[in-house]
Amino acid sequence: MNNLYETQRAMRRARKVAIQRGVIAVLDVGTSKVACLVLKFDGVKPKDPEDTVGSMVGQADFRIIGVSTIKSRGVKFGDIDIIRETERAIRTAVQAAQKMAGLRVDHIITCFSGGKPRSYGLSGSSVTQNGMVDGGDIANVLGSCEVPQYGSNRDALHAQPVNFSLDNKNGLLDPRGQVGKNLSVDMHLLTVDSSSIEAILHCVKRCDLELAGIASSSYVSAISSLVEDEQEIGAACVDMGGGTTGISIFLKKHMIFSDFVRIGGDHITSDISHGLQIPVNLAERIKNLNGGVLATGMDDREAIQIGGDTGDWEHDKRSVTRSELIGIMRPRVEETLEGVREILLSAGFEFLPSQRIVLTGGASQIPGLDQLAAKILGQQVRMGRPLRVRGLPQAASGPGFSAIVGLALFAAYPQDEWWDFDLANKNYAERSIKRMTKWLRENW
């Protein structure tokens, strides 16, 4: 844990360097595609750095100057399966984006959907040092949280303070500067498998890049596809990707819960492939062109050539009706949405002030999904697309790109996490030794 704390701090420092240099790349390693954006920070900063409520905060100060999307390789269920393949995919994507930008990129922020993310709500409390809350107090209270035993082979990906309360004041977003005695915090901790992070770190390192941050893709796609009031009063973002479907619940602009369903668009494709006895790429093509989840009478008459080139005339001239295709796709989509519903139920989503559900991600483009989702998840379902950011080409503004766009926003304007606060050293002796070594280093 402490090791990761240092790693995360190093990433934050790298991010700071990258923003100073003005160029940073964001990379989404998905199951079906790898997308890379190169962001250029123009240096248009808000006048007051403490002002975090401007209309375009986090979006106005960067521009996308390089975009590339390629087919993903070596990724299964959002996890890197074959490291060398994924490394090549990342290399291709980064090189293409660099080429478009005409700039060399040294720092990269990445997100991934795998690693079996699991979220924990933690709480802790401590007494303020000198009456007024400062950064050290926040570090203290964050350090006082009772960390659950999430397993030795898992690491914290996000550890975000969600809510502070000071004495009897509750619902504070940032208690710094407030006067009080008992400070308590609710923290949302998201853990993933260490091996997934290790694999990503390895790939990025092999590409001569420095990792400046790592995020969960269900979190970042919610950042870009939920509008501000949805994030404020409560909403769930369902990021339907290729290998997994990630769910994140937002309240008061913080992610309070995240989980995933291990079913995605690739499963639908493989179902089609199995059911119609056709190759996977043809199945993908048929899914994209003719797919759907709501059959009508018209669909019985619409024949889809599924062919083949075996040389067998009977085999090569096969065709299916669209309703047959829908018959294959629909159960899988229903299964996914039911999984989502179960997760939302177990997370207590119905107790939130608003039950808006936003479907985004590449697999959410299936025609008729909104009506099917309304039947399963309730009426407050809408389709989400990523926020518009400067320089994003039209081709990269579909729902499939909400994770990468959200990652760009995350890169420009990250949420304070546990590692952003200096850990107060409890051991005074250790601190004095550190001071001594520092003094020696400075003076000799």
């Binding site: 090549r88 290399r91 092999r206």
Partner: protein
């Protein structure tokens, strides 16, 4: 296990290519390769070339030949010097002074030098030297001899500004020119000429003018007579002389000196055997009675 390596169809760049691409996108490296390396190459090549003397000699010689070829083109060749504004005797003198060997390229002619050379000649007042259509034109305005000046060195001819045109042995050549003498007389040539022009009375009897004491003129007449003029009001005196002549017939009188130095007290001195003084009152002259 089947190998994952199938680089033939792999669209991904190899690690080396990826690194090279990144290197190429580095601004400093890019600048060095685009500008630094070519400049360095040019510098090195030219340095090695010019460091060998035979190379530079070849270059120098070819450059000189190139220059000579252009200089000696017929378009720039001068075959004639045309001198205007001088007589025949002067012509050779001017030609010798200019000392130009024809034919000559117009690049080798220093017009300013030629002009100053020609202007150094004594009889030349001003000279314009220019080239038009392969001919050097020398337009000379000569000094006009107006007067002889006899001084301790001999006889000189002066122009109207008193500048010496040359020394002469005798007055035969310009016998019509008047004569002046005396120290500093060359600076008052205009005054002397004025006296000559306005002196109707003795015009045939004048031998010359003598500058006396560096301040006034004596008109020397034949038969050892002279007229002494004042320092100022010469015109008035000359008029007076004409008027006096009318009434007193001065020219026929036997005088040795007409003394007008003091205009209020003009004096006539007779020759020795007849000492006789005629005093003329200026008042009478003014009234026109005499």
């Amino acid at each position: 296990m089947r190998s994952l390596e199938n680089n033939k169809t792999d669209p991904a760049p190899s690690r080396i290519l990826y690194r090279l691409e990144r290197l190429w996108l580095t601004p400093f490296v890019r600048f060095i390769i685009k500008f630094g390396v070519p400049i360095l190459l040019i510098v090195i090549i030219s340095f090695t070339y010019f460091s060998r003397t035979e190379n530079t000699d070849v270059l120098k010689i070819s450059w000189r030949e190139f220059r000579e070829n252009i200089r000696n083109r017929p378009e720039f060749l001068i075959n004639l010097i045309k001198i205007d504004g001088v007589n025949h005797t002067m012509l050779n003198e001017v030609r010798n002074t200019m000392n130009v060997d024809l034919p000559v390229s117009s690049y080798d002619v220093d017009l300013r030098d030629l002009k100053s050379k020609v202007q150094l000649l004594k009889s030349v007042e001003n000279a314009e030297v220019y080239i038009v259509e392969n001919i050097i034109h020398v337009d000379i305005s000569e000094r006009i001899p107006v007067i002889f000046w006899r001084n301790s060195n001999g006889l000189e001819i002066l122009d109207v500004n008193g500048i010496s045109i040359g020394d002469v042995e005798n007055r035969k050549k310009y016998s019509h020119l008047p004569l002046i003498a005396g120290q500093d007389a060359n600076n008052y040539v205009k005054e002397a000429l004025f006296i000559y022009e306005n002196n109707d009375l003795f015009s045939n009897e004048i031998i010359g003018l003598v500058r006396v004491g560096g301040r006034r003129w004596d008109i020397i007449l034949t038969e050892e007579r002279k007229v002494m003029l004042p320092t100022q009001d010469i015109a008035l005196v000359l008029k007076t002389v004409v008027a006096l002549n009318k009434s007193y017939r001065l020219s026929s009188r036997n005088f040795s000196v007409l003394d007008f130095r003091n205009i209020d007290r003009m004096t006539i001195r007779r020759h020795k055997p007849f000492p006789e003084t005629v005093e003329i009152k200026l008042n009478d002259v003014d009234k026109g009675e005499i």
